[in-house]
Point group: C2
Chain length 282, copies 2
């Protein structure tokens, strides 16, 4: 099985490692516009060969693991090149613009829209790790538009990598993922910014930071190259989440200003049941 991975960073590289381990006769070809990343991935054994896009005419599976705007620009070209029985799937964090971009392509049925909810705050081929996807949710959008045989091939990969599958339409995906993923990245980046701005001349202060701050600000280490296009693609939903988040923060601030600490308590108590909601996620 020839698997071409476009983008050999954290996400693509981790897929390469797991696919290599999960299938007997598989050859992993890496494609990346960053030649250094490609060489690093080869050196680390994450990929078997370096390749160019046009070689994907021999692919059984092509995985696109690059920023979502680059995926939208590239997807038609990839579908043009690959053979008729090739599965092409992406792993991007937004799905609507991508599903729109391929909707009228003659090879639409070769494409599967996927979003494995997995990652770390690190990036590049050095960040690739085994078992990143085990036990994680993989959201598949508009599955009915993918050829049945190729759906099966995709599911075989996802299953061997240990992922749970959830089906969803692309519009719902983008709306909900704005709440449970995109907003928390922005809240974390802006928390980091607020504290750095204030304390930039007093680096000792970060000695005062505990594991709570570290946990809350962890996502502020994420890659701007990956996240800028996500916010661009999911602009309307992200703005909506930010409006609601800012409104809640403002209301909380006003409760403190008005010494309404009974309500401050209540607000926190009401949110405490996130405990039971989050059970099983870590």
């Amino acid at each position: 099985m020839n698997v071409f991975i476009i983008g050999v960073g954290l996400i693509g590289g981790s897929l390469a490692i797991d696919i290599k381990a999960a299938f007997d006769e598989v050859c992993i070809y890496g494609i990346d516009q960053n030649e250094q990343h490609l060489n690093k991935a080869l050196e680390l054994g994450v990929i078997d060969h370096k390749a160019s896009l046009k070689e994907s005419k021999n692919a059984d599976i092509v995985i696109i693991a690059i920023p979502v705007d680059a995926t939208v620009r590239l997807i038609s070209e990839v579908l043009d090149i690959v053979p008729d029985d090739c599965l092409v799937f992406d792993v991007g964090s937004t799905k609507q613009k991508l599903c729109e971009a391929v909707s009228t392509h003659s090879k639409r049925r070769n494409y599967l829209a996927a979003h494995p909810i997995a990652g770390t705050e690190f990036s590049g081929p050095e960040a690739a790790v085994a078992n990143l996807y085990r036990g994680k949710t993989n959201i598949i959008c508009e599955v009915e538009k993918t050829a049945f045989k190729l759906q099966e091939r995709g599911m075989e990969v996802f299953s061997r990598l240990g992922m749970r599958i959830r089906y969803m339409d692309a519009i719902s995906h983008d709306k909900h993922i704005a709440y449970v993923s995109h907003l928390s990245h922005i809240s974390s980046f802006m928390l980091g910014k607020t504290v750095i701005e204030k304390e930039k001349n007093e680096r000792d202060i970060f000695d005062m930071a505990g594991s709570g701050f570290a946990s809350t600000v962890r996502l502020a280490k994420s890659s701007p190259a990956m996240w800028t296009p996500i916010f661009m693609h999911n602009k309307e939903n992200v703005i909506e989440t930010l409006q609601e988040y800012i409104a809640n923060l403002t209301q909380f601030k006003e409760l403190i200003e008005k010494d309404n600490f009974k309500k401050v308590y209540k607000e926190m108590e009401n949110t405490n049941h996130i405990k039971s909601i989050l059970k099983g996620i870590s």
Copy 2:
């Protein structure tokens, strides 16, 4: 050595466990207005005996580990009861109001204002764990106001528990801790609130949440009984941090609204160096 711990929850209980392990002849007395907590702490072996406040007249050390408003109400009474050579320290997250409350007490020199930066999002005696304080920072405020002999006794405890000491005045402590701790609790609570409000009728959605969301919202599991008094005591500083945080979020939202994604990228890139700042905290 007789150590009385007022408040046998996560913080007090964890101190009890470590002090018990670090000193040869030590007897831990637990005081708690919650009789169930006290019985549980005894049952778990976190404390050796249940006690009442007036028995602390035989104490070598009294540790106050209850919400900060309760500490302010209780501290004078504790100082009145304890013998002249007893060290009293608290472990609360705000220090200014407490230092003010004891400033004119005749036994001011028996008191040491401490804030070990350690904890988890859980609470109660069942949440008490060994080695919670190892490698953590302990901030001591206005150390010069504590009797030298009693400073030494405190340092011996903190040292055996593996804590690093930082000295700071109470006003600076409260200002900086608002940024590196109090703000991240509010950002987390309000993130949890925003997502729960939106998704309350679609519990399946939390299947979409990954480790990033879990990490960012972790502090929203924290105890309202502990955190409400902290925000009350540190009202002015907390309001300031919230104003700045809300301003940064609003500006980021406006950049997205205006399609200024170059600046969106820049904002995230500038915040990325939180990586190097946070090195060593986890």
